[in-house]
Amino acid sequence: MHGVRLAFVKKKVTGGGHRGVAASLNLTSMIDYLVTVVIFLLMSFSSSGETPINKSITLPMAENTIDMVTAPMVAINGSQILVNEHPVGSTRAVEEAGRVMPRIDELYNALKSLKDDWKKLNPSNKDFPGVVILQVDKEVPALVVKSVFQTAASAGYPNVSFMVGKIAESKK
């Protein structure tokens, strides 16, 4: 407080008979708190980044899951089928067909083109992983899921994964 030259300011800052406005901070507990927050955030840090989820889809939850991988994303909401956010078909057409469609043409073409792009970018002998991830709303009927599954398989994606929310595994 020696740096404050004006007497009336000095008096006010030091309290002037009342409680001072400058409060002291306990550095030890503050650093403890900051270190705890840093440790918590480091523990929950994920280098894989956040997976974009279609807003109109409510995903089911599952316990025995595996980690996400980078792969083409096929989203199925109540009315549309989308590949990487681009619409490639309607679920209504599949439901109206009343049977499993072995090939949904637009979806097939979109997946085939993604596969061709991958091969252009990886011209070496590296095998195509053939993974596609289905983001499906939990109320969509099996007929649509089967049709998309079959189309993905025939487009050259034999490893079909279903995206789900993760439930913590129960200890047995």
Partner: protein, 169 residues
Amino acid sequence: MIPMIDLLMCLICFLLITAVWSTMSRLNADAQVPGPPRDTETTPQEPQPMLHLTIASEEKFVLSWRKGNAVVSSVDVPRKPVTVGEGRAAQTRFPDLATKISEEWKANGAHRDPTDKKMDQAVLHCDNKTPYKEIIAVIDAVYSTKRPFPGGGEKLYPAMNVTFSMTSN
């Protein structure tokens, strides 16, 4: 002291900005049960037993082990869904089915040895109207049966791989 507090603050800001709060993962399903096509002809082998899981009706599941077209054993499991949560967040689970699948695999599974790298196959049959959430609950029940694999240490991995049957039951 001040640079240290600055560093901690910067770290907290960075970690908060890059934090991932939604934990998404996946359930794998295989569309090529016999394995990828090979260029060379191989000698035909005896078919391996496969677990066929049928969502037969509102009341039951049917678990049957089949070698090719021959049914080795079959058992009915009452369909008792357990719903966790409410409204749109409600989740369906089949804990009884998971227990029964585990028992069946221990009795009939072909790849139970911890040194065996292969997985048993489960084929899921369901009606075309079955909601997706129930399919996921059934697949999750299949994957709850776990065993160690060579090179995996003490960690347990799903003992079976799931594929979809395209027919309606």
